[in-house]
């Protein structure tokens, strides 16, 4: 009896030693019919994607990147001469692959995961260049009419990944050899070992290097001046180390090290990410889009026209924003491409910290987020906004651009930029991965304001106590949903879960249209990379008591295709992106 009592006492005492954030205990959750209805919509969407995606060309297991919800046909890239190519770009389908695996987890049926395996098996067996690069990314896809490789940037478009963060766990399961070869060649094709230049474009002609990562890691590119400010070299001959490409390089290297137990690729990834940290502003903490500036290689005659924005004419921000002096560099812009810096890169840093033990990445994430929010976040007219500025805090708000350039037309007035809901995830995940409560306070305070302004109510005190959430919120956003699910997962406070259920219901009601999930009722295309279904499955998983760590994780949905196409007017040639030309189409645009 005494022993039993002591045992009970020990168990009870241990409950007080649980992590501080998990203060609410795991109550029994009832999985209701409403919960099932959300899952039902996800299953119907997936089944329709598989049915209509496969129907177009039954010779292949590959699926199109998006489906026209009026015709059931694949989205098509329209070249300037009207030639239409239905495209399968696996780099842009990673969230669908994660959705398939997640759906198998929650339904207990392997059918969906097997579909993902079949798709990857065909792709990895048939669409890998002998040098290791896959035919995917920003400029290459598979033509679903011919099943041949299609380029959108000249006949031989380069390899390009920008924040696509492939689902390496599944790829390794499907074809280990092809995946490892790709992860290694990604660096050989994009990183210049001797000069530390990096190119977002990689060549399919670069031979496979068996000695990849064999070089000694060099000194840091970024050194400080006498005042402790980073010197960003302007010596890159057009090979600009954009953070969105570097994020993919680093992610591949970490995944490679983790799988092979060879620590060297991860060391290179840390080196690469360190350059962005060194180049960040020492006062504000905000970080850079690139850690090098371009070398001028074109003649002054070629560059006389400001509309000619080739990087060989020099730094494109220095050209268009010269009124702002030396801070006006592409690296330092904090109002454009910020999703790449403050969302996608940070999510990768935090993933690396969590999965691969790179703890100092959490500190860097906190530095970047705190610096950005402290300086650039503002609430205007009840909306979350970003003040346009350079990373030293020099505000560009209200500036009227005197001439055309890379950043837009002449007479463009720089205004506040709406903060997307996707910012919720890097802020929250940084908070959750930060060790000390005292280090969490500032970000939590911003997070609380931002969540409130998005219409979700008050998330309460640090740690999740005393929330006053808007359980009837009308927000139908996957990032808000993921944030509430992750908050619940960390605190076990069911109030977050109730709001998550409301958001999930809103998503289904507003976005599940014509048999598919679309961005809104009027949008024409259902993208395979959309994050809504993955977010709904995360909610379904926690309702079932499945550990979120077992579910495929959201990292990005930045997939795109870029190249020459027929402009929206149907009569001029343009260079643009699927996101600007195809996925903006509504059901009223289709003809």
């Amino acid at each position: 009896m005494k022993k039993i009592m002591i045992g009970l006492l020990m168990i009870l005492s241990l409950t007080f030693l649980l992590p501080k954030w998990n203060v609410f205990g795991a109550d029994l959750i009832v999985y209701t019919d409403d919960d099932y209805q959300r899952l039902h919509a996800v299953i119907q969407h997936v089944d329709n994607v598989l049915k209509y995606g496969h129907e177009y060309n039954e010779e292949t297991d590959l699926l199109p990147d998006a489906i026209n919800t009026l015709t059931g046909e694949p989205a098509k890239w329209t070249f300037p001469n009207r030639a239409q190519v239905p495209y399968a770009d696996l780099a842009n389908q990673q969230n669908f692959l994660r959705t398939l695996v997640g759906l198998s987890k929650v339904t207990g049926s392997n059918t969906y995961k097997n579909e993902a395996v079949d798709i990857l098996t065909e792709f990895m067996s048939n669409y890998q260049n002998p040098n290791g690069l896959f035919y995917w990314g920003g400029h290459r896809a598979v033509n679903l009419d011919t099943l041949e490789v299609q380029s959108t940037e000249g006949p031989n478009g380069p390899h390009e990944l920008k924040n696509m963060m492939p689902y390496y766990e599944l790829m390794l399961e499907v074809n280990e050899e092809a995946t490892l070869k790709f992860m290694r060649q990604l660096w050989t094709a994009h990183f210049y070992w001797n000069t530390t230049d990096m190119n977002r474009h990689g060549s399919y002609s670069t031979g496979y290097d068996t000695n990849v990562f064999g070089q000694t890691i060099p000194d840091d590119v970024i050194v400080m001046d006498n005042f402790g400010n980073p010197i960003i070299p302007a010596d890159s001959p057009g090979l600009l180390p954009f953070v969105n490409s570097a994020t993919d390089l680093a992610y591949a290297a970490f995944a490679l090290s983790d799988y092979t137990y060879d620590s060297i690729p991860a060391e290179w990834a840390k080196y690469l990410m360190k350059q962005y940290n060194l180049a960040s502003n020492p006062v504000t903490g905000m970080t850079v889009y690139q850690f090098k500036s371009t070398l001028v290689t074109k003649s002054s005659i070629e560059c006389a026209d400001p509309a000619y924005t080739n990087s060989g004419c020099g730094d494109r921000v220095a050209r268009q924003f010269r009124d702002f002096g030396t801070i006006a560099r592409e690296a330092n812009v904090a109002w454009k491409n910020t999703q790449a810096i403050y969302v996608d890169n940070i999510l990768m840093l935090l993933e690396a910290a969590k999965k691969y033990g790179v703890d100092h990445f959490v500190d860097w994430s906190r530095q970047y987020m705190e610096g950005y929010l402290e300086n650039a976040y503002i609430r205007v007219d009840g909306k979350n906004m970003i003040i346009p500025m350079f990373i030293d805090g020099t505000v560009t708000y209200g500036y009227v651009v005197p001439e055309v350039g890379y950043f837009g037309p002449s007479n463009m007035r720089l205004d506040y930029v709406p903060m997307p809901t996707s910012y919720l995830l890097p802020i929250l995940r940084t908070i959750l991965q930060t060790e000390e409560d005292s280090d969490r306070v500032k970000l939590w305070s911003y997070f609380r304001d931002i969540v409130y302004t998005f219409g979700l109510g008050d998330i309460g005190e640090l740690g999740g106590a005393n929330p006053n959430l808007n359980v009837d919120t009308s927000i139908d956003d996957p990032f808000a949903l993921m944030a509430m699910v992750e908050l619940y997962d960390a605190t076990k406070n069911k109030e977050y879960l109730e709001v998550a259920r409301t958001i999930g219901n809103n998503i289904v009601r507003e976005k599940f249209q014509r048999g598919f999930f679309v961005d809104s009722e009027i949008m024409l295309y259902s993208r395979l990379d959309q994050p809504d279904t993955l977010a709904l499955l995360s909610l379904d998983a926690v309702l079932r008591g499945i550990d979120l760590a077992e579910m495929p994780f959201y990292l990005a949905d930045s997939g795109y295709i870029h190249g020459y196409l027929l402009a929206d007017d149907g009569v001029t040639e343009d260079r643009s992106y699927t996101q600007n030309v195809i996925y903006t189409k509504t059901i009223y645009d289709w003809e």
Partner: protein, 291 residues
């Protein structure tokens, strides 16, 4: 004593635990909620209802023609059904296409270009400043005939002008009238995917030199089934063939010889960059081409 302490501790802990439980858990919610029968069998019959076949719209295009004599248009206004390209960098009157009326009552389009700007992309390419277009569709027939009349005026600065048919942004066949009033035929191009920064089309000289202030009629023909493009000039009801040949490589999918031919769907008039002046347009029509 020992037992007493232990018991007290237990009681305190239990009270604390129950107190927390009642405060944090809204019990009324727990009582009313019932577990879904489909939770553990989400794909079972009776739970999952696959969606019915979706009622999709046919992707087959609708054909339509073009018949523009501009007589029903308003003077000094842009003709309906036509698109004049401009972007933010164009001056207010950098390009003009407006209806004018001749002394005899005939209405036509007066077209002006200052030649200063052009579409931003593709860069370093000889893209024209003035791009004036109207659309049609003969995608099922895959053959057709286009007519267009042009005049190079005197009394104002006249400009070089190109008119013809194109598939989207890519010229199928057109006539190029230079500032010297010479007439060339252009087949294909520009299609930078294929040609880099060059135009990529082929030009053919003709012996014709136009005179100012006279209307000239041109007839363009195409037939994808026969891989044929032609252009004629019509002077006083006499047709003279200027060119007869095959579709240019830039009209094919991926600019490959085996690529399918993309048939025209745009009547296009352009005036080049770095040149300014006027040209006039009238009587644009698209007809079906018989057997």
């Amino acid at each position: 004593m020992k037992k007493g302490i232990l018991l007290t501790l237990m009681i305190v802990l239990m009270i604390g635990l129950f107190a927390c439980g009642t405060e944090e858990v809204p019990t009324d919610t727990l009582i009313t909620e019932t577990e879904s029968l489909c939770k553990d069998t989400p794909l079972a019959v009776g739970c999952y209802i696959p969606s019915e076949d979706l009622n999709h719209i046919s992707p087959i295009p609708t054909e339509y023609l073009l018949e523009e004599d501009f007589e029903s248009e308003n003077v000094n206004q842009m003709p309906r059904n036509w698109l004049l390209y401009k972007n933010e960098e164009y001056a207010t009157n950098g390009v003009i296409a407006k209806i004018q009326e001749e002394a005899g009552g005939n209405k036509y389009v007066a077209m002006y270009s200052d030649g200063l700007r052009a579409p931003m992309y593709p860069q370093s390419a000889p893209t024209p400043t003035f791009i004036f277009t109207s659309k049609f569709n003969l995608d099922i027939d895959r053959k057709g005939i286009a007519f267009g009349s042009v005049m190079i005026p005197s009394g104002v600065t006249s400009n070089a002008v190109t008119l013809g048919v194109s598939a989207g942004a890519v010229n199928t066949i057109s006539v190029v009238i230079g500032t010297d009033l010479s007439v060339k035929v252009k087949v294909g191009g520009p299609f930078y995917y294929y040609s880099g920064t060059g135009d990529g089309g082929d030009e053919y000289l003709t012996p014709f030199v136009l005179s100012k202030d006279l209307w000239y009629d041109f007839r363009f023909e195409w037939d994808a089934g026969l891989n044929m493009v032609k252009v004629f000039i019509i002077v006083e009801d006499v047709e003279t063939e200027l060119f007869s040949g095959t579709f240019h490589i830039s009209s094919r999918v991926n600019a490959l010889p085996a690529g399918a031919i993309m048939v025209p769907n745009v009547f296009r008039v352009t005036m080049p960059r770095y040149m300014n002046g006027w040209a006039y347009l009238d009587n644009v029509s698209i007809e079906r081409r018989g057997e």
